[in-house]
Protein backbone atom coordinates (compact mmCIF):
# COMPACT_ATOMS: atom_id res chain seq x y z
CA UNK A 1 0.00 0.00 0.00
CA UNK A 2 1.24 3.48 -0.78
CA UNK A 3 1.39 6.52 1.45
CA UNK A 4 2.80 10.02 1.24
CA UNK A 5 6.41 9.51 0.17
CA UNK A 6 6.37 6.04 1.66
CA UNK A 7 5.18 2.58 0.78
CA UNK A 8 4.50 -0.54 2.82
CA UNK A 9 4.51 -4.24 2.06
CA UNK A 10 3.20 -6.90 4.43
CA UNK A 11 2.73 -10.64 4.45
CA UNK A 12 1.92 -13.50 6.78
CA UNK A 13 4.62 -15.97 7.75
CA UNK A 14 2.97 -19.35 7.54
CA UNK A 15 4.36 -22.10 5.35
CA UNK A 16 1.85 -24.86 4.83
CA UNK A 17 1.23 -27.91 2.73
CA UNK A 18 -2.53 -27.72 2.24
CA UNK A 19 -3.82 -27.88 5.81
CA UNK A 20 -0.64 -28.92 7.55
CA UNK A 21 1.54 -26.10 8.84
CA UNK A 22 5.23 -26.72 8.33
CA UNK A 23 6.75 -23.48 9.55
CA UNK A 24 5.61 -20.22 11.09
CA UNK A 25 8.50 -17.89 10.34
CA UNK A 26 8.90 -18.05 6.62
CA UNK A 27 9.99 -14.87 4.80
CA UNK A 28 8.01 -13.98 1.70
CA UNK A 29 9.20 -10.45 1.15
CA UNK A 30 12.77 -9.85 0.10
CA UNK A 31 14.73 -6.64 0.16
CA UNK A 32 16.28 -6.19 -3.26
CA UNK A 33 17.91 -2.90 -2.33
CA UNK A 34 17.29 -0.04 0.09
CA UNK A 35 14.25 1.22 -1.79
CA UNK A 36 12.89 -1.91 -3.39
CA UNK A 37 11.08 -4.96 -2.08
CA UNK A 38 9.87 -8.04 -3.88
CA UNK A 39 7.04 -10.05 -2.35
CA UNK A 40 6.35 -13.55 -3.70
CA UNK A 41 3.23 -15.60 -2.94
CA UNK A 42 2.40 -19.10 -4.11
CA UNK A 43 4.57 -22.20 -4.40
CA UNK A 44 7.42 -21.73 -1.95
CA UNK A 45 10.04 -23.52 -3.98
CA UNK A 46 9.41 -21.14 -6.87
CA UNK A 47 9.53 -18.24 -4.41
CA UNK A 48 13.01 -19.32 -3.39
CA UNK A 49 14.13 -20.03 -6.96
CA UNK A 50 12.91 -16.63 -8.15
CA UNK A 51 14.44 -14.78 -5.23
CA UNK A 52 17.83 -16.35 -5.97
CA UNK A 53 17.41 -15.58 -9.66
CA UNK A 54 16.54 -11.94 -9.07
CA UNK A 55 19.31 -11.49 -6.51
CA UNK A 56 21.71 -12.67 -9.21
CA UNK A 57 20.15 -10.48 -11.92
CA UNK A 58 20.26 -7.42 -9.71
CA UNK A 59 23.89 -8.01 -8.79
CA UNK A 60 24.71 -8.18 -12.50
CA UNK A 61 22.65 -5.04 -13.13
CA UNK A 62 24.45 -3.17 -10.38
CA UNK A 63 27.81 -4.28 -11.66
CA UNK A 64 27.06 -3.26 -15.23
CA UNK A 65 25.11 -0.03 -14.63
CA UNK A 66 26.84 1.10 -11.48
CA UNK A 67 23.56 2.00 -9.80
CA UNK A 68 20.55 0.39 -8.19
CA UNK A 69 17.66 -0.68 -10.37
CA UNK A 70 14.52 1.46 -10.32
CA UNK A 71 11.27 -0.19 -9.21
CA UNK A 72 9.59 0.22 -12.58
CA UNK A 73 12.49 -1.36 -14.43
CA UNK A 74 12.62 -4.18 -11.90
CA UNK A 75 8.90 -4.83 -12.25
CA UNK A 76 9.35 -5.18 -15.99
CA UNK A 77 12.32 -7.48 -15.40
CA UNK A 78 10.18 -9.69 -13.16
CA UNK A 79 7.38 -9.67 -15.71
CA UNK A 80 9.59 -10.78 -18.60
CA UNK A 81 11.30 -13.41 -16.45
CA UNK A 82 7.91 -14.91 -15.64
CA UNK A 83 6.70 -14.72 -19.21
CA UNK A 84 9.79 -16.58 -20.42
CA UNK A 85 8.18 -19.61 -18.81
CA UNK A 86 4.83 -18.99 -20.48
CA UNK A 87 4.13 -22.69 -21.16
CA UNK A 88 5.56 -24.03 -17.92
CA UNK A 89 5.23 -21.14 -15.48
CA UNK A 90 6.56 -20.41 -12.04
CA UNK A 91 3.63 -20.78 -9.67
CA UNK A 92 4.16 -17.52 -7.87
CA UNK A 93 2.44 -14.15 -8.03
CA UNK A 94 4.85 -11.36 -7.23
CA UNK A 95 4.37 -7.86 -5.86
CA UNK A 96 7.05 -5.25 -6.55
CA UNK A 97 7.06 -2.32 -4.19
CA UNK A 98 9.49 0.57 -4.00
CA UNK A 99 10.28 4.26 -4.07
CA UNK A 100 11.56 5.78 -7.27
CA UNK A 101 14.23 8.47 -7.36
CA UNK A 102 11.72 11.24 -6.61
CA UNK A 103 10.49 9.32 -3.54
CA UNK A 104 7.22 8.57 -5.22
CA UNK A 105 5.79 5.18 -4.33
CA UNK A 106 5.69 2.48 -6.99
CA UNK A 107 3.40 -0.53 -6.54
CA UNK A 108 2.86 -3.34 -8.92
CA UNK A 109 1.25 -6.76 -8.78
CA UNK A 110 1.50 -9.54 -11.32
CA UNK A 111 -0.10 -12.85 -12.04
CA UNK A 112 1.97 -15.98 -12.53
CA UNK A 113 2.60 -15.22 -16.20
CA UNK A 114 3.81 -11.71 -15.59
CA UNK A 115 0.80 -9.55 -16.47
CA UNK A 116 1.61 -6.23 -14.79
CA UNK A 117 -1.00 -4.32 -12.84
CA UNK A 118 0.42 -1.05 -11.53
CA UNK A 119 -1.76 0.61 -8.99
CA UNK A 120 -1.37 3.93 -7.26
CA UNK A 121 -3.07 2.81 -4.05
CA UNK A 122 -2.68 -0.85 -3.08
CA UNK A 123 -2.13 -4.33 -4.46
CA UNK A 124 -3.16 -7.61 -2.84
CA UNK A 125 -2.23 -11.18 -3.75
CA UNK A 126 -2.36 -14.62 -2.20
CA UNK A 127 -4.96 -16.98 -0.81
CA UNK A 128 -6.90 -14.27 0.97
CA UNK A 129 -6.68 -11.72 -1.82
CA UNK A 130 -10.42 -10.92 -1.90
CA UNK A 131 -10.56 -10.36 1.83
CA UNK A 132 -7.52 -8.12 1.64
CA UNK A 133 -9.07 -6.21 -1.27
CA UNK A 134 -12.28 -5.51 0.62
CA UNK A 135 -10.44 -4.42 3.73
CA UNK A 136 -7.89 -2.26 1.86
CA UNK A 137 -10.63 -0.65 -0.21
CA UNK A 138 -12.49 0.35 2.94
CA UNK A 139 -9.57 1.65 4.98
CA UNK A 140 -7.21 3.16 2.40
CA UNK A 141 -6.83 6.94 2.40
CA UNK A 142 -4.62 8.98 0.13
CA UNK A 143 -1.40 10.51 1.44
CA UNK A 144 -1.14 8.67 4.72
CA UNK A 145 2.00 9.23 6.72
CA UNK A 146 4.17 6.33 7.88
CA UNK A 147 2.39 5.68 11.16
CA UNK A 148 -1.06 5.75 9.61
CA UNK A 149 0.16 3.55 6.78
CA UNK A 150 1.56 1.01 9.22
CA UNK A 151 -1.73 0.98 11.17
CA UNK A 152 -3.84 0.44 8.08
CA UNK A 153 -1.57 -2.18 6.54
CA UNK A 154 -1.19 -4.23 9.71
CA UNK A 155 -4.91 -4.09 10.52
CA UNK A 156 -5.92 -5.14 6.99
CA UNK A 157 -3.42 -7.98 7.01
CA UNK A 158 -4.74 -9.23 10.34
CA UNK A 159 -8.37 -8.86 9.28
CA UNK A 160 -7.95 -10.83 6.12
CA UNK A 161 -5.69 -13.57 7.48
CA UNK A 162 -8.05 -14.11 10.41
CA UNK A 163 -10.65 -15.18 7.90
CA UNK A 164 -8.34 -17.45 5.90
CA UNK A 165 -7.27 -20.78 7.32
CA UNK A 166 -4.29 -21.03 4.97
CA UNK A 167 -2.74 -17.75 6.12
CA UNK A 168 -1.69 -16.54 9.51
CA UNK A 169 0.80 -17.49 12.22
CA UNK A 170 2.22 -13.98 12.43
CA UNK A 171 2.88 -11.14 10.05
CA UNK A 172 5.73 -8.87 8.98
CA UNK A 173 5.37 -5.31 7.69
CA UNK A 174 8.13 -3.37 5.93
CA UNK A 175 7.73 0.36 5.44
CA UNK A 176 10.03 2.02 2.94
CA UNK A 177 10.51 5.75 3.08
CA UNK A 178 13.29 8.08 2.07
CA UNK A 179 14.75 7.80 5.57
CA UNK A 180 15.08 4.06 5.31
CA UNK A 181 13.26 0.81 5.97
CA UNK A 182 11.30 0.08 9.13
CA UNK A 183 10.38 -3.54 9.77
CA UNK A 184 7.75 -4.55 12.29
CA UNK A 185 6.54 -8.00 13.25
CA UNK A 186 2.88 -8.35 14.15
CA UNK A 187 1.52 -10.98 16.46
CA UNK A 188 -1.66 -12.28 14.88
CA UNK A 189 -3.87 -15.19 15.88
CA UNK A 190 -1.53 -18.16 16.12
CA UNK A 191 -3.56 -20.53 14.01
Amino acid sequence: MSGDGCVAIASDTRLGQQYQTIAMDVPRMFKMHDRLFLGLTGLYTDTQTLYNLFKFKLSMYKMREGREISPETFANLVSSTLYEKRFGPYFTEPIVVGLDKDNKPYLCGMDLLGALACEPDFVTLGTSTEMLLGACETFYRENMNEDQLFEVVSQTLMMATDRDCLSGWGGVVHIISKEGITTKTIKTRQD
Binding site: G134, A135, E137, T138, M159, D162, R163
Partner: protein
Amino acid sequence: MMDFGTPVLEPGSANGTKQVPQFNPYQDNGGTVASIAGDDYVIVAADTRFTLGYSIPTRKISRVLKINDKVMLGTAGMQADTCALHKVISTRMRMYEHDNNKRMTFNAVSQMLSTVLYYKRFFPYYTFNIVAGLDDKGEGWVCGYDAIGSFEQRKIVCNGAGTKLMQPVFDNQVDWAQSWDGAGKPNLSLEQATDLMKDAFTSAAEREITVGDTLQIYKITKDGIQLEEFELKKD
Protein backbone atom coordinates in the same frame (compact mmCIF):
# COMPACT_ATOMS: atom_id res chain seq x y z
CA MET B 1 -31.32 -17.72 -20.96
CA MET B 2 -31.20 -21.43 -20.35
CA ASP B 3 -27.96 -22.88 -19.18
CA PHE B 4 -27.41 -26.32 -20.56
CA GLY B 5 -24.01 -26.89 -18.99
CA THR B 6 -21.48 -29.26 -20.52
CA PRO B 7 -22.76 -32.10 -22.65
CA VAL B 8 -22.83 -35.48 -20.95
CA LEU B 9 -21.91 -38.59 -22.88
CA GLU B 10 -24.44 -41.38 -22.83
CA PRO B 11 -23.27 -44.93 -22.24
CA GLY B 12 -22.42 -46.62 -25.48
CA SER B 13 -21.47 -43.37 -27.12
CA ALA B 14 -17.76 -44.13 -27.10
CA ASN B 15 -17.72 -43.84 -30.87
CA GLY B 16 -19.15 -40.35 -30.44
CA THR B 17 -22.58 -40.82 -31.94
CA LYS B 18 -24.80 -39.48 -29.17
CA GLN B 19 -24.34 -36.48 -26.88
CA VAL B 20 -27.14 -35.36 -24.60
CA PRO B 21 -26.96 -31.81 -23.24
CA GLN B 22 -27.84 -31.59 -19.57
CA PHE B 23 -29.99 -28.84 -18.12
CA ASN B 24 -28.38 -26.97 -15.26
CA PRO B 25 -31.16 -25.91 -12.89
CA TYR B 26 -29.05 -23.31 -11.06
CA GLN B 27 -27.84 -19.82 -11.90
CA ASP B 28 -25.83 -17.34 -9.93
CA ASN B 29 -27.46 -13.93 -10.00
CA GLY B 30 -24.94 -12.30 -7.73
CA GLY B 31 -25.77 -9.78 -5.05
CA THR B 32 -24.91 -9.38 -1.42
CA VAL B 33 -26.94 -8.95 1.72
CA ALA B 34 -25.55 -7.83 5.03
CA SER B 35 -26.89 -6.94 8.41
CA ILE B 36 -25.66 -5.33 11.63
CA ALA B 37 -27.61 -5.64 14.85
CA GLY B 38 -27.34 -3.33 17.84
CA ASP B 39 -28.93 -3.11 21.26
CA ASP B 40 -32.21 -1.76 19.95
CA TYR B 41 -31.96 -1.75 16.18
CA VAL B 42 -31.05 -3.89 13.18
CA ILE B 43 -30.06 -2.71 9.75
CA VAL B 44 -30.40 -4.94 6.73
CA ALA B 45 -28.74 -3.89 3.50
CA ALA B 46 -28.88 -5.46 0.08
CA ASP B 47 -27.70 -4.32 -3.30
CA THR B 48 -30.16 -4.28 -6.18
CA ARG B 49 -28.05 -5.52 -9.08
CA PHE B 50 -29.21 -8.64 -10.89
CA THR B 51 -26.39 -10.20 -12.93
CA LEU B 52 -26.34 -13.10 -15.31
CA GLY B 53 -22.78 -13.97 -16.32
CA TYR B 54 -21.37 -10.64 -17.42
CA SER B 55 -24.74 -9.04 -18.26
CA ILE B 56 -27.08 -7.02 -16.10
CA PRO B 57 -30.74 -7.80 -16.91
CA THR B 58 -31.90 -5.29 -14.32
CA ARG B 59 -30.49 -2.81 -11.80
CA LYS B 60 -33.53 -2.72 -9.58
CA ILE B 61 -34.49 -5.96 -7.88
CA SER B 62 -35.36 -6.24 -4.25
CA ARG B 63 -33.63 -8.93 -2.27
CA VAL B 64 -35.32 -8.22 1.02
CA LEU B 65 -38.69 -9.49 2.21
CA LYS B 66 -40.56 -7.75 4.99
CA ILE B 67 -42.00 -10.49 7.17
CA ASN B 68 -43.51 -8.21 9.78
CA ASP B 69 -42.74 -4.95 11.57
CA LYS B 70 -39.93 -6.52 13.49
CA VAL B 71 -38.39 -9.13 11.16
CA MET B 72 -36.96 -9.07 7.65
CA LEU B 73 -35.48 -11.72 5.40
CA GLY B 74 -32.66 -10.90 2.96
CA THR B 75 -31.57 -13.32 0.27
CA ALA B 76 -28.68 -13.42 -2.19
CA GLY B 77 -27.97 -16.03 -4.84
CA MET B 78 -30.36 -17.28 -7.48
CA GLN B 79 -33.26 -14.91 -8.02
CA ALA B 80 -35.79 -17.53 -9.09
CA ASP B 81 -35.18 -19.54 -5.94
CA THR B 82 -35.28 -16.31 -3.93
CA CYS B 83 -38.76 -15.51 -5.28
CA ALA B 84 -39.97 -19.05 -4.63
CA LEU B 85 -38.52 -19.03 -1.13
CA HIS B 86 -39.98 -15.64 -0.28
CA LYS B 87 -43.40 -16.83 -1.45
CA VAL B 88 -43.18 -19.94 0.71
CA ILE B 89 -42.06 -17.95 3.74
CA SER B 90 -44.74 -15.28 3.44
CA THR B 91 -47.45 -17.92 2.96
CA ARG B 92 -46.27 -19.82 6.01
CA MET B 93 -46.08 -16.59 7.94
CA ARG B 94 -49.71 -15.77 7.15
CA MET B 95 -50.77 -19.30 8.07
CA TYR B 96 -48.97 -18.95 11.40
CA GLU B 97 -50.72 -15.67 12.10
CA HIS B 98 -54.11 -17.19 11.32
CA ASP B 99 -53.45 -20.32 13.36
CA ASN B 100 -51.89 -18.66 16.39
CA ASN B 101 -53.48 -15.23 16.31
CA LYS B 102 -50.14 -13.55 16.87
CA ARG B 103 -47.20 -12.16 14.96
CA MET B 104 -44.22 -14.42 14.30
CA THR B 105 -41.31 -13.63 16.58
CA PHE B 106 -37.74 -13.39 15.37
CA ASN B 107 -36.84 -16.77 16.82
CA ALA B 108 -39.86 -18.41 15.22
CA VAL B 109 -39.00 -17.01 11.80
CA SER B 110 -35.37 -18.06 12.02
CA GLN B 111 -36.30 -21.60 12.97
CA MET B 112 -38.95 -21.80 10.26
CA LEU B 113 -36.55 -20.68 7.54
CA SER B 114 -34.11 -23.35 8.59
CA THR B 115 -36.71 -26.12 8.31
CA VAL B 116 -38.07 -24.78 5.01
CA LEU B 117 -34.57 -24.82 3.54
CA TYR B 118 -33.83 -28.28 4.90
CA TYR B 119 -37.02 -29.70 3.37
CA LYS B 120 -35.23 -29.16 0.09
CA ARG B 121 -32.03 -30.82 1.27
CA PHE B 122 -31.60 -32.91 -1.88
CA PHE B 123 -32.47 -30.20 -4.39
CA PRO B 124 -31.72 -27.04 -2.48
CA TYR B 125 -32.75 -23.46 -2.98
CA TYR B 126 -29.63 -21.74 -4.31
CA THR B 127 -30.07 -18.96 -1.79
CA PHE B 128 -27.89 -17.39 0.89
CA ASN B 129 -30.14 -15.92 3.50
CA ILE B 130 -30.11 -13.68 6.50
CA VAL B 131 -32.98 -13.14 8.90
CA ALA B 132 -32.75 -9.92 10.88
CA GLY B 133 -35.04 -8.64 13.56
CA LEU B 134 -35.77 -7.48 17.07
CA ASP B 135 -36.40 -10.23 19.57
CA ASP B 136 -39.07 -10.13 22.30
CA LYS B 137 -36.95 -7.89 24.49
CA GLY B 138 -36.35 -5.45 21.67
CA GLU B 139 -32.69 -6.39 21.18
CA GLY B 140 -31.47 -6.69 17.61
CA TRP B 141 -30.20 -10.01 16.25
CA VAL B 142 -29.33 -11.54 12.90
CA CYS B 143 -29.17 -15.13 11.73
CA GLY B 144 -26.99 -16.19 8.81
CA TYR B 145 -27.86 -19.29 6.80
CA ASP B 146 -26.21 -21.53 4.26
CA ALA B 147 -28.16 -22.98 1.33
CA ILE B 148 -29.59 -25.91 3.27
CA GLY B 149 -30.64 -24.24 6.47
CA SER B 150 -27.69 -24.40 8.87
CA PHE B 151 -27.80 -21.15 10.87
CA GLU B 152 -26.18 -19.20 13.63
CA GLN B 153 -27.50 -16.24 15.58
CA ARG B 154 -25.04 -13.36 15.69
CA LYS B 155 -24.75 -9.60 15.66
CA ILE B 156 -23.30 -9.18 12.19
CA VAL B 157 -23.75 -11.34 9.12
CA CYS B 158 -22.95 -10.94 5.44
CA ASN B 159 -23.99 -13.38 2.79
CA GLY B 160 -23.62 -13.51 -0.98
CA ALA B 161 -20.97 -12.53 -3.50
CA GLY B 162 -19.35 -9.69 -1.59
CA THR B 163 -18.98 -11.59 1.68
CA LYS B 164 -15.26 -12.22 1.37
CA LEU B 165 -14.62 -8.53 0.85
CA MET B 166 -16.92 -7.22 3.58
CA GLN B 167 -16.77 -9.72 6.42
CA PRO B 168 -13.20 -8.87 7.53
CA VAL B 169 -14.15 -5.18 7.69
CA PHE B 170 -17.13 -5.92 9.94
CA ASP B 171 -15.04 -8.24 12.13
CA ASN B 172 -12.64 -5.40 12.68
CA GLN B 173 -15.04 -2.48 13.15
CA VAL B 174 -17.97 -4.07 14.97
CA ASP B 175 -16.43 -7.06 16.75
CA TRP B 176 -13.12 -5.30 17.39
CA ALA B 177 -11.56 -8.67 16.54
CA GLN B 178 -8.00 -7.48 15.92
CA SER B 179 -7.57 -5.50 19.10
CA TRP B 180 -5.17 -6.90 21.67
CA ASP B 181 -7.39 -6.73 24.73
CA GLY B 182 -10.81 -5.72 23.43
CA ALA B 183 -10.66 -2.39 25.24
CA GLY B 184 -12.49 0.45 23.58
CA LYS B 185 -14.91 -1.83 21.74
CA PRO B 186 -17.49 0.48 20.26
CA ASN B 187 -21.20 0.15 20.79
CA LEU B 188 -22.32 1.30 17.39
CA SER B 189 -25.30 3.60 17.10
CA LEU B 190 -27.78 3.26 14.24
CA GLU B 191 -26.10 6.10 12.30
CA GLN B 192 -22.62 4.69 12.76
CA ALA B 193 -23.74 1.23 11.68
CA THR B 194 -25.44 2.67 8.61
CA ASP B 195 -22.31 4.60 7.66
CA LEU B 196 -20.19 1.49 8.12
CA MET B 197 -22.57 -0.49 5.95
CA LYS B 198 -22.39 2.13 3.21
CA ASP B 199 -18.58 2.14 3.34
CA ALA B 200 -18.38 -1.63 3.18
CA PHE B 201 -20.75 -1.87 0.23
CA THR B 202 -18.96 0.93 -1.59
CA SER B 203 -15.69 -0.97 -1.25
CA ALA B 204 -17.31 -4.22 -2.34
CA ALA B 205 -18.86 -2.50 -5.36
CA GLU B 206 -15.39 -1.35 -6.43
CA ARG B 207 -13.91 -4.81 -6.57
CA GLU B 208 -16.78 -7.24 -7.10
CA ILE B 209 -18.57 -7.07 -10.43
CA THR B 210 -21.87 -8.45 -9.16
CA VAL B 211 -22.24 -5.79 -6.47
CA GLY B 212 -23.38 -2.27 -7.39
CA ASP B 213 -26.21 -0.02 -8.60
CA THR B 214 -28.29 0.84 -5.53
CA LEU B 215 -28.05 -0.17 -1.92
CA GLN B 216 -31.31 -0.60 -0.03
CA ILE B 217 -30.82 -0.13 3.68
CA TYR B 218 -33.73 -1.13 5.92
CA LYS B 219 -33.54 0.08 9.48
CA ILE B 220 -35.65 -1.86 11.95
CA THR B 221 -36.30 -0.19 15.29
CA LYS B 222 -39.14 -0.27 17.78
CA ASP B 223 -40.78 2.49 15.73
CA GLY B 224 -40.99 0.31 12.63
CA ILE B 225 -39.02 -0.10 9.43
CA GLN B 226 -37.49 2.74 7.43
CA LEU B 227 -35.89 2.40 4.03
CA GLU B 228 -32.91 4.42 2.90
CA GLU B 229 -31.56 4.11 -0.62
CA PHE B 230 -27.93 4.80 -1.32
CA GLU B 231 -26.37 4.94 -4.76
CA LEU B 232 -23.44 2.62 -5.49
CA LYS B 233 -21.19 2.53 -8.54
CA LYS B 234 -23.04 1.51 -11.67
CA ASP B 235 -20.08 0.06 -13.60
